[in-house]
Amino acid sequence: MIAVDVQGRAGNFASSVAFESAGDVTAVFGPSGCGKTTLIRMICGLHTPERGQIRVGDTLLYDQRAGLNVPAHKRRLGVVFQEPRLFPHLGVTANLRYGQWAGGRSSPLSFDDVVDLLGLGALLQRRTAFLSGGERQRVAIGRALLAGPRLLVMDEPLASLDAARKAEILPYLVALKAEIGIPMLYVSHSLSEIEQLATDMVVMTDGRVVTSGALDEVLNRLDVPGFSEGPEAGSRVKGRLIAHDEDTATGRIAFEGQQVVVPLPRPRSLGPVLLHIQAKDVIIALEPPRGLSIRNQLSGKIAALHQPAGPYVEVLVQVGAQQVRARITQLAARDLQLDVGQSVYVLIKSVALEPALG
């Protein structure tokens, strides 16, 4: 549980942020300069707010009224800063283990696991100075993981990684939340990262929270200015993996009484899964199509239509108890004569579902 309600300023920049989240991974999303890092610094105890309260789990970390301000080193958080901030006088190994030998922390994760996961094996004997940008950030992530934090705070940790590394690290972060139960506060301006990782989401602009709540709800809000129209907008739905075909490397997911097929390159235990569906990958059909490479079609009813300025119409389709968001052009909406309450088919390419498998 994270509960933040603070006002503060950094130089001329005033921020007033309030949100509450009981989720495993709370994402903070917002444009450059909106105050994400400033918020992180307040939560970590590196910047003192002017007013308010910060609570993580059962522990009150800051309460201006009560005069409480737990010092940074006692907050037991693991922080990955926007810049790697590795200690230049220590080697890679000493940096990784810093929280243990210096901070007196102990970690439920083993050193070797973290090293393997982040592909740090070849770097262990190196000095930090000649690491490449991505290598540094991986070491910084490992360092925070090994500090055994009660909350892992990450300020755009993957921004400097390439797609392959990102794709490699992200699932582990996902697994982390499920298996080890370290809650995370995850700052990012990549919606796709957030959709794969987060359970809850806080959207910020200009030092304020525009909207916050459970990720699914926030994603399906069609009218949050500066957020709902983003190119990465989409929805996330819950399903169950019920079959896995190793031959074709695909899985079959039960979703609201219907089924979708998704690529599944690596075996995975059957059970609940999350699917992330980008609005621009969703096709609306009035009748079931034939002779298409699209594998997945779900029947539903249009729950909402929203047309902001511009070429698009945002369509929210109710599929059982959940909602799937589609973004189509005005032209298409007009041709199909879509209306709220209408029955439609939602088509999704299997391929588009792959990275979203949580």
């Binding site: 922080v79 200690f87 810093y98 210096a102």
Partner: protein, 232 residues
């Protein structure tokens, strides 16, 4: 001609001892002070800086005289230290070390303060966020990062302590084997009719010691720089 008389030998050994003890004694103080000066603003900061620098601004003889008045056998500080800690300075090598330390102090503080100024506070932040208390952060992060400056200050202080003359002779006089350091021995030979050869010899020894000290400090500095900045 570099054959040293026993008296000259003892001056060399004494100088090294005095300078070594002086630097070792002031270094922790200088580090603590520099850190405070670098990281915090507090009332009277300028006053502290001025007092630190006084030995540089005043003629050494005056500093020596003030030490004699304060830390001599009759001086208030001297009596207090003798009574409470058994430490006496007057006309002893410990006094020579005190004089050298006081004179070297400002030279040691400046580079160290500069090094703390240059050490990235963001790294200290990172250390605190990873669970190290401010004190531990100081020892594990700030101090290692400031090592080049500490080395520079140390070597500057050592050189100054080796060459210190005015304050030493005024405070603890010029007693062979006790307070007659290399500098004072040089001065003494300068008074003699046939002292020229000895002057040259002692000057060469001074130079030699400084060559060794500075040379090894350079090597050390390069090692430290590689550690701290991660490159040559």
């Amino acid at each position: 001609m570099l054959q040293l008389s026993p008296a000259e030998w003892s001056a060399v050994v004494l100088s090294l001892q005095v300078a070594g003890v002086a630097v070792a004694a002031i270094l922790p103080l200088a580090i603590a002070l520099s850190y405070c000066l670098s990281r915090w603003a507090f009332p009277g900061k300028t006053l502290v800086i001025v007092i630190t620098h006084l030995p540089l601004v005043l003629p050494p003889v005056v500093t020596g005289y003030l030490l004699l008045l304060g830390f001599g056998a009759r001086g208030p500080m001297g009596q207090w230290l003798a009574d409470w800690m058994g430490l006496t300075f007057a006309f002893q090598w410990t006094g020579a070390a005190l004089a050298a330390g006081v004179m070297a102090f400002p030279l040691v503080v400046r580079p160290i303060k500069l090094a703390f100024d240059a050490a990235d506070p963001l790294l200290e932040e990172a250390a605190r966020a990873l669970g190290t208390s401010p004190l531990k952060t100081f020892f594990l992060v700030s101090l290692p990062l400031a090592l080049p400056g500490i080395l520079a200050g140390g070597i500057l202080g050592f050189a100054k302590a080796m060459g210190e003359f005015g304050a030493t002779i005024t405070f603890v006089s010029n007693i062979p084997g006790e307070t007659r350091t290399l500098s004072l021995a040089l001065y003494t030979e300068l008074q003699k009719v046939d002292g020229e050869a000895a002057v040259l010899r002692l000057a060469l020894i001074s130079v030699g010691i400084s060559v060794v000290a500075l040379g090894s400090s350079e090597v050390l500095a390069r090692l430290v720089a590689r550690r701290v900045r991660g490159c040559a």
